[in-house]
């Protein structure tokens, strides 16, 4: 269990925006994971998706450490933010934009401008 926890801590530290989900960025296996990927695509900051669909022990450790039973699980700058049920209202009131700006400010990363 400790090894799994260490691996998670490392992944969280290495990725400013990290999504634990079902499936990958290119092939999400769950509607809520897809929704989260689309959500972050919209913001234009780099983000990582780690597939834990088949990894029951890692899912269990993640659920215990976050007190959050479901996937996806989103971490930003090391802090747990739940899922889009939390992030969407935060985006609507502007709180999330501030969190993302602060998270990436020290890294010199600006969001890529997307032409729709």
């Amino acid at each position: 269990m400790n090894e799994i926890r260490e691996k998670i801590d490392k992944e969280v530290a290495e990725n400013t925006i990290l999504v634990y989900g079902k499936g990958t960025k290119d092939a999400p296996q769950c509607g809520f994971t897809l929704e989260t990927i689309e959500f972050f695509n919209h913001f234009g900051y780099p983000f990582q998706v780690i597939d834990v669909l088949q990894d029951t022990s890692k899912r269990q450790v993640l659920a215990e450490m976050t007190d959050w039973p479901t996937l996806p699980k989103v971490f930003i700058a090391g802090k747990f933010y739940g899922d889009t049920d939390i992030l969407l209202p935060m985006a609507q009131n502007g709180e999330l934009q501030k969190v993302l700006e602060d998270a990436f400010a020290g890294k010199g990363i600006k969001p890529t401008v997307k032409l729709h």
């Binding site: 509607g31 959050w68 039973p69 479901t70 739940g82 899922d83 049920d85 939390i86 209202p89």
Partner: protein, 78 residues
Amino acid sequence: MIDEAGITELIRVKIPDAQVRITDLTGTMDHYDIRVRSAAFKGVPLIDAHRMVSNALREAHADGRIHAMQIKTDVPES
């Protein structure tokens, strides 16, 4: 699988005043949109309000009766 009454009952064990609105997202009785209104959420950070609901449903999620859920919480207007 679990029906809407079953979910409401589990939530009210932990949040007795909860007003619950449930939508079956897929028609398979295991993917649900769950909206909960309760005075118990007053002053509680959104993420913790969601934890109150998901913890009430923890076993139903762990044993697979609920496969996936999205949750919205709010406080009744006083």
